[in-house]
């Protein structure tokens, strides 16, 4: 018994289901929701806006900047060959490399952060239903306690048509 869930075509139904679950004292982390598109308009879709992702990106950028600076300096001084009457450490050209690596750092950091925090890649998680792909919204409870199941089923059944599935 890994969990039980229901599928809703209407986000407002899904929202009600979520509300019922909450009022049944189901903890937020146990409520599973899946949709085939981001849903902004409803509370259940409104989870933490990850503003800190920007800081991670910036951090990555700083790392990149350091890497770029180090690389430029190291490669120029490793075998100091004068060219075109320029100084061995030529800052104007170095700025270009530093800039590019800064941006690269930022981008990579963002992507890593995304993968880690969004738990990607993950093996197909507990509660999922291919019907989500057709626009249905899945609301369910992860490993509910056996005795709570009837109540939860009741909570998910927002109207007569909804059938609740068990896994």
């Amino acid at each position: 018994m890994k969990g039980l869930y229901a599928l809703y075509s209407d986000p407002s139904e899904a929202q009600r289901a979520v509300n019922h679950l909450r009022s049944n004292g189901v903890a937020q982390r146990d409520i599973a929701i899946a949709s085939s598109e981001p849903i902004e308009e409803f509370e259940f879709g409104q989870r933490d806006k990850a503003t800190w992702l920007y800081y991670i990106a910036s951090g990555g950028g700083v790392l990149g900047l350091c890497a770029g600076t180090w690389l430029a300096l190291m490669t120029q001084t490793a075998w100091p060959l004068p060219t075109g009457g320029m100084p061995v450490v030529a800052w104007w050209p170095n700025l270009i490399i530093m800039f590019e690596l800064t941006m690269l750092g930022g981008i990579l950091a963002t992507v890593f952060a995304l993968f880690i925090t969004a738990r990607l890649p993950s093996r197909g998680a507990a509660l999922y239903d291919p019907e989500v792909a057709d626009g249905k919204i899945l609301v369910g409870v992860k490993n509910p306690k056996g005795d709570a199941i009837p109540a939860l089923t009741q909570a998910l059944r927002v109207d007569v048509h909804t059938q609740v599935k068990l896994l």
Partner: protein, 229 residues
């Protein structure tokens, strides 16, 4: 004090005979590419004598102007090379490291005087021409750039000879093939750092000017022809 090799070209002495061109071929194992390739613009002449016509018959004049790598101190060909194949040496030579060259040909494009040449094919010498190879100069393979070296092999040889008998290199000890062969002595080679050397004396002449005034600090100075009295 580091040396600064340079050449002074007296256009009033140069007769345009082309001795320097052939001498350069002989000294530096420069291949002849043959008629077909020459017609396709692949002829290689590290030094060339540019000829410019002026006026119309009967009031016609000709200017001769030997052009070789000026080993600029601010050479645009050096920094553009991604592999350091083209870089500046301690005594101010604009070195071309053949093994390091991967043939981007960027240096040749950056050179305002087009003195750099590309090996479009592996050069071939019909035997026994190869017996004439100068063993002090490496033969270049396909896909790399080459150009005038101020006969660096001669500089090195003169250096070690001087070191051997424990004396300083003195003015005139080193002669690149072109200057050596010039019958009219239009080319004078030497150390520009040494104020006594003939080349620095000539380079300071009021007739002296660079081939192009692009601020690239070339080390070849051209003494312009003195106009008629």
């Amino acid at each position: 004090m580091a040396r600064k090799w340079g050449i002074a070209v007296d256009l009033d002495r140069c007769t345009g005979c082309g001795a320097c061109v052939t001498a350069c071929h002989a000294e530096n194992n420069i291949p002849t590419v043959g008629a077909a390739e020459a017609a396709r613009g692949r002829a290689m002449h590290w030094i060339r004598i540019e000829r410019y016509w002026e006026g119309e018959f009967p009031d016609v004049r000709v200017k001769f102007r030997p052009v070789m790598c000026a080993h600029c101190d601010a050479a645009p060909c050096e920094p553009v090379c991604p592999t350091y194949a083209s870089h500046h040496t301690a005594d101010g030579l604009n070195a071309q490291v053949y093994n390091r060259c991967i043939g981007t040909r960027y240096c040749a494009n950056a050179c305002p005087t087009n003195v750099r040449f590309f090996n479009f094919f592996n050069p071939a010498w019909d035997k026994p021409f190869h017996l004439q190879f100068n063993p002090d100069v490496s033969v270049r393979s396909v896909g790399i750039m080459e150009k005038c070296t101020f006969c660096v092999q001669r500089i090195k040889a003169a250096d070690s000879a001087a070191k051997a008998d424990g004396r300083e290199l003195k003015d005139g000890d080193v002669q690149p093939a072109c200057a050596q062969s010039c019958p009219a002595k239009a080319l004078v080679f030497g150390d520009l750092q040494d104020p006594e050397s003939e080349v620095s004396r000539l380079s300071k002449s009021p007739r002296g000017r660079p081939l192009l005034d692009l601020g690239l600090l070339p080390k070849v100075t051209y003494l312009s022809r003195q106009t008629d009295v």
